[in-house]
């Protein structure tokens, strides 16, 4: 292997402590990336980070959209028409759920993610054997839902009231109007903010290293514990995060441009 040959080639300089700049760089790369297949550690970490992120984003989107709808003014102040007993009870339950949703959003946004992760790991799942990655998805997804809720709510409120009225006047139900008319338009206006949320979520999955999930940050940290290089492992992890987040930014930018061109 060419990497081994280069490694041999810098041995004399290494022994005599006379490495030049490029030789030092190569030494760092060799020790922290190439030796003993260590690059695999980063890739496995990256894989876990992506896995947790994708599923947490899905959980966040789903739950966040429900929370957003529960926080809409029409739902928050829902009043049943007439005095039918069951309808009144239904409206009261919806208003109560709306309050819970509001409390949930404040709670998740007002406390540190790390604290939530630790609580879920040691508290909720303390006595149950369950994969760390699932705990990560749950914790990050539940947290992200609160932010997604506010983004989606903003998106929904940015859709003109006339759109809902047009849908309802055709006979579509409130739910159908939301699904076919309001949410697609809300998604479009919420896309930039949503992109930011996805990027922060991907980065923040790094707190999962605290519960011994070997995602990308933990992978870098593990290499550092083996090589005692204080910079290189973290830089390698950081570069991998950057590749992911920049790719995502580019993709969503493209999607935005396509949506802009297709209508409006």
């Amino acid at each position: 292997m060419i990497f081994e040959q280069w490694w041999e080639a810098i041995q004399p300089a290494l022994q005599s402590n006379t490495l030049n700049f490029w030789q030092t760089i190569y030494k760092e790369i060799y020790l922290n990336v190439i030796k003993e297949g260590r690059w695999l550690n980063y890739l496995q970490g990256l894989g876990k980070t992506l896995e947790v992120s994708v599923f947490a984003i899905l959980v966040g989107l789903f739950l966040g959209t429900i929370l957003a709808i529960l926080r809409l003014p029409e739902i928050k102040d829902m009043n049943a028409r007439g005095k039918g007993g069951l309808k009144q009870v239904g409206a009261a339950i919806v208003r109560f759920l709306s309050k819970i949703a509001g409390g949930y959003i404040n709670l998740m946004r007002g406390t540190p993610l790390l604290l939530q992760v630790l609580l879920i790991n040691f508290g909720v799942f303390g006595s149950i054997r369950i994969e760390k990655i699932i705990i990560g998805v749950i914790a990050c997804g539940l947290n992200s839902a609160a932010y997604v809720a506010e983004i989606v709510r903003g998106g929904i409120m940015s859709v003109e009231k006339g759109q809902t009225e047009a849908g309802r006047s055709l006979g579509l139900s409130g739910f159908q109007t939301m699904m076919y008319i309001v949410l697609p338009q809300a998604a479009k206006s919420a896309l930039p903010a949503m992109c930011n949320e996805f990027i922060s979520l991907i980065k923040e999955t790094s707190v999962l290293s605290y519960i011994a999930l070997t995602e990308l940050t933990k992978a870098g940290d593990y290499i550092r514990s083996r090589t005692f290089s204080a910079f290189t492992p973290y830089i390698v992890s950081g570069l991998l995060y950057l590749i992911v987040t920049l790719t995502l930014t580019t993709l969503i930018g493209k999607l935005e441009r396509r949506l802009r061109n297709s209508d409006h």
Binding site: K87, S169, L170, G171, I181, Q185, S262, H264
Partner: protein, 247 residues
């Protein structure tokens, strides 16, 4: 009129802001099948509120609205079913910007009348032809002029094969040169026997097409009659003042 009553409004009241603002103060009216009723009146007199109560986009505070013999103000009634038979056209068109013209027109028939895509599109294309817009079927609303948007909004409502069409100032947001093309579509619809309730400031249209004109002021119907009675022989001072201003 000797024909059947299709919408009957009795003692309708609508209050806003916890009763501070009374937009409608006891309105009663019967709309007959095949009739064209034009509602005129100064801005803020409650014309839109009256129209929007007819399909319950505004919930009446008091009073009763009967549509095809059913009291739709009864909370037990599923209003979605009745709305399918009441088309509505808005001042600002309210086309769905994220859908093509064709999709705008086929969405509700496919979801609610359970029409197949093919049937819904056939019906839509037929209606588009009638308003000379069959070549814009695949366009998005943003690519249309105001007059085209409003004609699409009208045929979108017609796709549901409604019994009544409600128009809330359908030409008020249009550039003057486009008003004619929309009024023409509405005239043809009237001639075909559609029951229509039209809020408008187009007095020429009211004179020519209306069977009956309602003059509203301060949340009440002040005077009603044939176009000739209202425009040529108004009885109430408020009607005279209003007509002096707009004619």
């Amino acid at each position: 009129m000797t024909t059947d009553v299709i919408i009957s409004v009795k003692d309708l009241e609508k209050h806003f802001n916890d009763g501070e603002l009374k937009a409608l103060r006891g309105v009663s009216a019967d709309i007959h099948k095949g009739e064209v009723v034009v509602v005129i009146g100064p801005s803020g007199s409650g014309k839109s509120t009256f129209l929007r109560c007819l399909n319950l986009l505004e919930l009446p505070t008091k009073g009763k609205i009967t549509f095809e013999g059913v009291d739709i103000t009864d909370p037990k009634v599923n209003i979605n079913v009745h709305r399918q038979k009441m088309g509505m056209v808005f001042q600002h068109f309210n086309l769905f910007p994220h859908m093509t013209v064709l999709r705008n027109m086929t969405l509700a028939p496919m979801k609610l009348l359970k029409k197949s895509k093919k049937d819904a599109e056939e019906k839509a294309m037929g209606l588009l032809k009638r308003v000379n817009l069959e070549n814009r079927a695949d366009a998005y609303p943003s690519q249309l002029s105001g007059g085209q948007k409003q004609r699409i909004a009208i045929v979108r409502a017609l796709c549901m094969e409604p019994e009544v069409m409600l128009f809330d100032e359908p030409t008020s947001a249009l550039d003057p040169e486009m008003v004619g093309e929309v009024l023409d579509v509405m005239k043809r619809l009237a001639k075909d026997g559609m029951t229509m309730v039209v809020v408008t400031h187009e007095m020429g249209f009211a004179r020519e097409v209306a069977d009956r004109v309602l003059f509203m002021d301060e949340g009440q119907i002040v005077e009603e009659g044939t176009p000739d009675e209202i425009f040529s022989h108004p009885q109430q001072q408020r009607t005279k003042d209003f007509l002096n201003k707009v004619l």
